[in-house]
Symmetry: C2
Subunit: 396 residues, 2 copies
């Protein structure tokens, strides 16, 4: 039997890809066998999915073939779906096989959280993957085509977005940009189209600077969005949504962006989790198994104010870097490094040429923020794929 330690990385999202890329760079020849497992043969750029969902960009620009990111001479890639994680046995069950490991990195990403609101699971669409955003895009276009045959069905032209967090706001911005084009394509009077954004919290973009939130809502309202803030969705039905204030909005399109939780496989594996997120130690390892790292949306890290950091691409990437460092250190019997989140800021796009953000502590809005958003996107492409990927996928 080989004495070379086996590292298995589950998930090729932000965290998993960064871990793999760093291991590929740091590990010496034959120092470890690294296997990356992912459901698809591509990595997708989650922060970009709101655009193909609304149809304002091609889904191809939101994904990268994994074979273009990793060096398959150094890292084995397995395209498969994880069925079960067995930390006691140091095994991962795939839908078509089993992998044994010495070190495991769980970067399986998040799932939509519906908080038990009836009907959301069945009738709402989610912005979670390439497949799910292609479904949203096609669903929206189909509603316009159906409306032309049944012009009495105004619900075909009513779009409800549940949740005014990051994803909800960014999607709404793109959708509002796309509507006039769809109206032109399908000969539909734009005044018939309604876009609602519904948020249970007392404000849109909770936790964001109030002045910037105000600006964002103004921009989106000018684009035709109706906000219903501090209003919970009580139920989603095949005909639309029922709100907590008793109002019913008839709509054939409900997109739910209101919640995210960790992957259920993590709970099923026996890790102590809150909504699928596992509190990890300062080195990103589970408290139960030293050889299991959890990064990205499935991990839970408490900040200085005693609150969990929200799951973002930024934190997942930084975790990937630390995780790879600690894996190499473990193999070499060197001391591990503590994970410290370095918040570089955050930018939310509001459609073409408009955004809000706080970058290095500075408030930005309008064109400057939109430009910053683009730079962040390009920087990410550069990190994972260098100049060639920037040239291929970067939109200028």
């Amino acid at each position: 039997m080989s004495t070379v330690p086996r590292i298995v990385i589950l998930g090729a999202g932000y965290g998993g890809v960064l871990t793999a890329l760093r291991l590929q760079k740091e590990l010496n020849y034959n120092e470890a066998n690294v296997t990356l497992v992912n459901k698809h043969d591509y990595h997708y750029i989650t922060t970009h999915l709101h655009m193909p969902a609304a149809g304002t960009d091609d889904p191809e620009n939101a994904r990268v073939s994994i074979s273009k990111l990793i060096d398959e001479f150094k890292i084995d890639f397995v395209k498969s779906t994880v069925v079960q994680i067995k930390p006691q046995e140091r095994k991962v069950i795939l839908e078509d096989g089993t992998l044994s490991y010495d070190y495991l990195v769980i970067g399986l990403g998040g799932e939509s959280e519906t908080f038990g609101i009836p009907g959301l699971q069945e009738y709402a669409l989610n912005i979670r993957s390439i497949n799910s955003v292609r479904l949203i895009r096609e669903h929206i276009e189909y509603q316009f085509a159906k409306f032309k045959r049944e012009p009495e069905r105004k619900d075909y032209l009513t779009f409800v977005v549940g949740g005014a967090g990051f994803t909800g706001i960014e999607f709404i911005g793109e959708l509002a940009d796309r509507i006039p084009k769809l109206c032109k394509e399908f000969d539909v009077d734009p005044s018939l189209v309604k876009i609602y954004n519904i948020e249970a919290a007392p404000t849109a973009l909770p936790g964001f600077d109030p002045e910037l939130v105000e600006y964002a809502m103004q921009v989106l309202t000018n684009k035709g969005v109706t906000f219903k803030i501090a209003t919970a969705i009580k139920e989603c039905t095949p005909d639309g949504v029922v709100l907590a204030d008793g109002e019913t909005i008839r709509s054939s399109t409900v997109v739910w962006t209101g919640g995210i939780r960790g992957n259920r496989l993590v709970e099923q594996a026996g890790f102590e989790a809150m909504r699928g997120r596992v509190k990890v130690d300062e080195f990103l390892r589970t408290t139960q198994f030293e050889n299991v790292y959890i990064i990205g949306d499935c991990s839970l890290i408490i900040n200085d104010q005693g609150r969990p950091y929200p799951p973002t691409a930024q934190i997942a990437m930084q975790q990937g870097v630390t995780c790879a460092y600690n894996l190499v250190a473990s193999i070499r019997n060197q001391p591990l490094r503590e994970f410290k989140f370095d918040n570089k800021g955050v930018v939310a796009s509001l459609g073409k040429g408009e955004a809000i953000g706080i970058v290095f502590g500075k408030k930005l809005k309008g064109g400057m923020a939109a430009l910053m958003k683009k730079l962040i996107d390009l920087r990410y492409l550069y990190i994972i794929g260098g100049i060639p990927l920037v040239l291929r996928k970067g939109k200028f």
Copy 2:
């Protein structure tokens, strides 16, 4: 009251547009008031609709704005839907008004004929208009997107076309061309996609040269089409079709091209009609009302073999020319001209670069036939809109 005769043309299809264009050219100033009524402000090129239906061409290439075709100084255009024709009162009721006429031209086009087969009306799609083909295109794309979320639903990737007449065969050819592109776009294994063409008659393309029919079926079979000829559809359900031989095909997409009938308004007006088609006299007038002409799919003309000519663009255009001639002759108290159909031949496309046809009595197949099809399309654009329209809409 004006003594200038009022001519009302209902429908801006092949027949109506040709009538209007010829009247515009022939009539002297103030010799008649001509009004063209159409549901949309565009004319659509019905023989081209199979392409946007399959998504192989933009719907914009299958329609022309009526204002670009007719001279609105000479002909009034009314965008409205006809509700009722009252030949005794010489009136046409529109959804938003009433028009009186001295001469009426009915060119309202055909409707889908389902021969009473249960479920076709409710669950099948039709290739009949810009709106209906946009619906088909969006419906097909949506099935691919839905399949990715529910990969057990193979019926999402099964496409049934009822009818192997002209429209059915031409649509199948385009659809077979589009499928590989859709598979690529949505990451779908092409071997999962099934296309069925079902025809109750003992042959595809009934009435066409058997050698060419054989060729067409071979071309389409090679593209992955499964034919079920001499097999009637017994029922269409939300889940697919049940065939007369007992087989059930599970499919979420049924496109019905198996029958065409005249417009129901013609029957409701009291004209003696067979499936909405009215037998007209040798001058294209109804036998009951000398001042009412019927052309195109609503008219019935018996050929030398005692059988009705099939409704085609070619015959409708020739009827439009004769109809305009006779209207002018009536106004001038000159003798009318008999309508004689001059069959220049027919070409059926089988997708990109493939077609079959008989043109001026000569059999054509493959690339030559496809080229001829293009020439016919360009000739039509030239007839109705001259060189500018050929340049704008013609695909080379």
